[in-house]
Symmetry: C2
Subunit: 340 residues, 2 copies
């Protein structure tokens, strides 16, 4: 009972009375036999020592402190970080991921709506995330916007299907037009890609995409759950090979390693759509990435300058800012530009 840290304990007592009992510092002074200034200093000390944790628990809460750190430390033009509060209450990991994606997409939709100058032409990728963003966009989010797909859809035969929905919905809600890219994402041969690319309609779409005033895209993680595996573009073995060569995920269909480099030049050469260099050169590139599975690809995206604006979740933001997790993770393999 020797009061070595009596001041610390006292500051805790003061903080309890202040924050939990809503007493005034003067009253606390009376209770603890201290001057009100001492009480104020004790509470400030408790705050400074990190004993006071103030959290805003709301599905649509953001984390401005993390956003600022992302801007400053990572050098992003802007960052939107949504709260993960309550996510751990989900018993089902998949349901949690869906909720997190929904929150992130909501925030992205809001950001897009408030973006000034409003993009005249918006280049978009496709996928679950883009779909969710489209869902959360409000009718009339823009007043006339040209939405252009920037990478190939799942399949030519289903080109009016899922992949197109996001672009169409974004355009419709923004009182604008959607231009779809009528091509598969990955071709079987380089020559086929070149042939399709030189087709007049496709070339026109790609040209419009190249001139977009802003880009909105997500990223996929490199594992057997990838949309490319699910849609048959890549086999499980091919994916495993990509991972073995350092792939952490894809952006607009192009697989990159932790440094943001193309993992497999040959595969990339068969991939149709905007080039990563074009994204890196663009003024406004908004990446929407959430979920624990995408921490690595998120890092690759930001460190290699693929986006100027990142919309993500708290956990991903923390992972990005954590120097420890910047170290090469599990399978850090020197990338080979063309291993296949």
């Amino acid at each position: 009972m020797i009061d070595v840290d009596s001041d610390e304990l006292l500051s805790i007592r003061a903080a309890e009375l202040y924050y939990e009992e809503n007493k005034t510092q003067d009253e606390i002074g009376l209770i603890l036999s201290l001057t009100r200034w001492k009480v104020g200093r004790l509470i400030a000390q408790a705050k400074a020592s990190g004993f006071i944790r103030i959290e805003i628990v709301h599905p649509r809460a953001r984390r401005p402190a993390l956003e600022r750190r992302l801007r400053e430390k990572i050098g992003l033009h802007d960052a939107i970080v949504v709260s993960t509060a309550g996510i751990d209450a989900f018993d089902n990991a998949a349901a949690a991921a869906v909720e997190l994606q929904s929150r992130t997409a909501h925030a992205a939709a809001e950001y897009l709506t408030a973006l000034r100058p409003a993009p005249r032409t918006l280049g978009v990728s496709w996928g679950h995330t883009l779909h969710a963003v489209a869902h959360h966009l409000g009718q009339g989010w823009a007043h006339g916007v040209a939405v252009v797909q920037i990478n190939g859809s799942v399949s030519l035969t289903r080109s009016a299907g899922v992949a197109a929905q996001a672009a169409v919905a974004i355009a419709q809600k923004g009182a604008g037009t959607a231009t779809l890219l009528p091509s598969p994402a990955i071709l079987e041969r380089r020559e086929t890609r070149l042939a399709i690319e030189s087709d007049r309609t496709v070339a026109a779409v790609l040209a419009e995409a190249a001139g977009a005033s802003a880009y909105l895209f997500s990223a996929g993680q490199a594992d057997e759950n990838s949309v490319h595996v699910a849609s048959g573009y890549l086999s499980v073995d091919e994916m495993a090979a990509l991972v073995a060569h350092g792939a952490v995920g894809d952006v607009v269909g192009r697989y990159i390693n932790a440094r943001g480099d193309i993992v497999d030049a040959e595969l990339d050469d068969r991939t149709l759509g905007i080039r990563l260099q074009q994204l890196r050169a663009a003024a406004v590139t908004i990446a929407v990435i959430s979920g624990a599975a995408k921490h690595e690809i998120a890092r690759a995206v930001v460190v290699s300058g693929l986006c100027t604006v990142l919309v993500t979740d708290e956990d991903t933001a923390l992972a990005l800012l954590d120097p420890a997790s910047a170290a090469a993770p599990a399978s850090a393999v020197e990338a080979n530009p063309n291993f296949s």
Copy 2:
């Protein structure tokens, strides 16, 4: 994007700027284009809606709000509730329980030290918890106190052992004397209990115990980990039988059900020490109970008026205040006063 709950969202944004960015309400008003009064109201609204969670994370933090609710709703004279912050960080459940007990015991020691009028005679039980309380008491916590054991020790032959340590340490640190109760906790036959009880020295101790100005005790849960099973007073089967008849735990060696009634009159008749009626009649009875395993016995203790002061942990306090968990738990059996 139709702003149904735009006010709620706005209040979240305001709260973020206020609590996370440390901006003044005036500045926030400037940013969000609101008057500073509106900002103040939004923040108040966010607080009232429970979106702002302020938590004091410190091993020795208390929960005054819970303490007040325990006093008011349960009718305790006083309540001390220690924080469980950081407990879930323990990977080992046993280690977590130990830490929790340590915190609770620390708070109990503090309470005892500050108790006024200081008890002239203090009746104490024994066990891990009491041992921990003794450990946390500071040298000179009292200036002369008569400490009396109020229930039998583990065994006659080891009477100077573990059980005695707590009482002796409490007395020593309080510059006082310890009076031990030289008897087993539970005898094999009623007659033996009567014989020991009528022994002059034992009778004197019991008389002193009966006249104590304050009592300090813990409670044990009714399961195979009970100290009575460990020390051989009860077999695993006997314990199972007690549980089957509604026993939730013991206080000073006497097993009670959820209502606080003696579960087995015959067993109780063989148990030596202070009667529960004496505890219920006493002016100052301090129960120190912590840990998830003791939620039921804690409830039994408070609802049956066995203590006037409860020292416990946050989770136990919440369980006590939760009307849902007040409902008969798992094995709610109508107690039979004498089933054996």
